[in-house]
């Protein structure tokens, strides 16, 4: 459509007849219009909740349109921001309780807004089941992300693996900039404590995820 319109423009005099011949707006104009919509077209029970719509630097970089690729510089910046975001639990212990982690992994609720109300939960669910295969034989699991079945069996449960796993859950973009995986710790969806339980769920040999 846009191209056809340009051809008309090239026909010179005709362009005068179709003065202001419609075409796609430039990216800056699009951005301005769309951001105005974002600021006007959503409601929340508290102004603080509306801030969820505001993008941080990394989210801006990661919102590539269509097939546009991340540049090396952009990827490096996202990784840098991600690394800086990672906080560790006060206890210093990165491996928590796998049973709690199991529950969290199968809990997809928490923090949703509906009918002018924020979903009331003591804590948010870990959302894992939505996108990842978990224990062997589980049916009701998604596949947007890679399978986590046997995660600990494949990697062992060394301190280095525990740290890597913790960091990947806390802020996946430290390793895979702009991947689909939410930065669960960095966005404050989960607490550092909750992340340690999920680390245990993934690594503990007794965890159902590591059952053969």
């Amino acid at each position: 459509m846009g191209k056809a319109c340009l051809k008309w423009t090239m026909l010179g005099s005709l362009a005068l007849i179709f003065a202001g011949c419609a075409t796609y707006p430039d990216p800056a104009t699009t951005r301005q219009m769309a951001e105005k919509m974002v600021s006007e077209d959503f409601t929340a029970p508290a102004p603080a909740l509306l801030k969820r719509l505001v993008q941080d630097k990394s989210q801006q970089i990661c919102s590539k349109i269509g097939d546009a690729k991340l540049t090396q510089e952009e990827a490096a910046e996202v990784v840098k921001l991600a690394r800086a975001s990672i906080q560790y639990p006060a206890s210093g212990k990165l491996v928590g309780n796998w049973k709690i982690g199991d529950n969290l992994a199968h809990d997809g609720a928490g923090d949703r807004i509906q009918g002018g109300r924020l979903e009331k939960r003591k804590e948010n669910g870990g959302l894992c089941q939505n996108c990842h295969a978990l224990a062997p034989g589980e049916i009701n699991v998604g596949n947007v992300g890679p399978s986590l079945t046997g995660y600990g069996l494949q990697r062992g449960n060394s301190e280095a693996i525990a740290k890597l796993t913790y960091e990947r859950i806390y802020n996946a973009w430290a390793y895979s900039p702009c991947s689909n995986m939410p930065r669960l710790g960095a966005t404050r969806h989960l607490t550092p404590e909750q992340v340690t339980h999920m680390v245990a769920y993934l690594l503990d040999p007794a965890s159902p995820i590591n059952k053969r």
């Binding site: 809990d107 997809g108 609720a109 509906q114 009918g115 669910g125 959302l127 089941q129 939505n130 049916i139």
Partner: protein, 155 residues
């Protein structure tokens, strides 16, 4: 809208809610009973009692009964079940979800030009065998198929 969501929760919020839904008591005042409604059967809590109420004790398994239902039902509140009986002179077909609190879901009396085929949708509280109980030529036959119930809206 929050009403929508909450109502929904109570409709199909999870296995627990569904089980409760299926566990509906049959004690209610002022209801009009259809004349031939199999009260004893619909109030039975065990498969054996359902069979008894149908007069189907000692029914034998038959390969001439085909149950069409999903291996996995996405939504326990709407599980499609179709039953085809190739038994000659099929007179009655019942659908029984064994692990429902009240297993007997429906009974269909076939007569005249009715074929040995019915299709319906039932509520299931949990993964269970679904039984077809068929009366043909005065005798009772059964078939069964397991339907796994996942709650699509889980989490």
């Amino acid at each position: 809208m929050n009403i929508a969501r909450r109502t929904f929760l109570k409709l199909t919020g999870g296995a627990g809610a569904l089980a409760a839904a299926c566990a509906a008591g049959l004690v209610s005042s002022g209801r009009v009973l259809a004349a031939n409604w199999n009260k004893a059967g619909f109030e039975s809590k065990a498969l054996a009692d359902v069979m008894k109420s149908l007069g189907a004790n000692g029914a034998i398994e038959s390969k001439d009964i085909i149950i069409t239902a999903p291996d996995i039902a996405e939504n326990g509140a709407v599980v499609p079940v179709a039953i085809t009986s190739k038994l000659p002179n099929t007179q009655q077909i019942s659908i029984v979800a064994e692990k429902n609190p009240f297993p007997l879901a429906a009974t269909f009396d076939v007569s005249g030009g009715g074929e040995g085929y019915v299709s319906a949708r039932i509520k299931m509280g949990q993964t269970s065998d679904v039984w077809a109980v068929v009366k043909a030529d005065g005798k009772y036959f059964t078939a069964r198929k397991e339907v796994k119930v996942t709650v699509g809206g889980c989490g």
